[in-house]
């Protein structure tokens, strides 16, 4: 009998999240040790705070900042205003998540000492192959 695992990825790795946001086209990303206030489209300081911030000037004139707040358990919560969800909709979020999943998989494999063998893409699925030399 074989079993398989399905994992719904949760944003936990700051480095991979920033890397994935860069892949989504945002090259100017602020990373803060302490959460900073987000800025709204009127240049107003919002009450929402985040550790990872894409400033509105990099998103669009009428946009608000986009942020990712690190929670006590180490996971990140995405903060996107309703206005910006028109551009950063569920499809955008899914693309980001897919990039993050691949980045964090590669990082985890590297940390475990696995040797990367190949990457295949078929019909919207990516398959990463590693070898575990220890076994």
């Amino acid at each position: 009998m074989s079993a398989y695992n399905s994992v719904t990825t949760i944003y936990k790795d700051q480095e991979c999240l920033v890397e994935s946001l860069k892949e989504m086209g945002y090259t100017e990303i602020e990373v803060h040790e302490l959460p900073q206030n987000l800025v709204g489209y009127h240049a107003d300081l919002r009450q929402q705070r985040a550790h990872i911030i894409i400033r509105r000037k990099h998103i669009g004139n009428a946009s608000n900042d986009i942020g990712y707040l690190r929670n006590v358990d180490g996971t990140f919560t995405e903060i996107i205003s309703d206005f910006d969800k028109r551009k950063h909709d569920s499809k955008w979020s899914t693309n980001l998540k897919a990039k993050y999943t691949e980045a964090v998989t590669m990082k985890t494999a590297h940390a475990k000492g696995f040797h990367f063998l190949s990457r295949r893409v078929v019909n919207g699925k990516v398959q990463l192959k590693f070898s575990d030399r220890r076994s």
Binding site: S2, N5, T9, I10, K12, T108, K129, S131
Partner: protein
């Protein structure tokens, strides 16, 4: 040297991988759900019924389960829980059947199509 294969669905961002040694670290990357993928069973009908009966009553990590795995072939691969098919082919060596099972499932995770199978 063991292979670890991770499949990422770009339409959801979720990942799939078979339960093998070395995958523990990947399980911690999010919300985990573990499910049965397939069975390797005796190809002979009556042997298969006895096998299922024994395995119904004993744990997968028991000595009895280990004994069942030493039975002589031929073996078949039943992927009903996932792909819903029994693979074409019978294997005298159980490890060969498992290898075919793993190769098929990883191909199915990626391509979703069933090749070399019978309903």
């Amino acid at each position: 040297m063991a292979e670890i294969i991770i499949t990422i669905d770009q339409s959801t961002g979720d990942m799939l991988f078979l339960e093998t040694s070395g995958v523990q670290a990947f399980k911690a990357l999010g919300r985990l759900r573990t499910r049965r993928a397939s069975y390797v069973l005796p190809a002979d009908f009556w042997a298969r019924q006895v096998f299922k009966l024994i395995r119904w009553f004993i744990r997968d990590d028991s000595a009895g389960a280990a004994w069942c795995r030493t039975w002589r072939g031929p073996w078949l691969v039943d992927t009903t829980p996932t792909a819903g098919v029994v693979l074409v082919g019978r294997w005298m060596n159980r490890q060969d059947a498992i290898d075919a099972e793993v190769a098929f499932l990883n191909s199915w995770f990626l391509e979703g199509a069933c090749q070399h199978t019978t309903a």
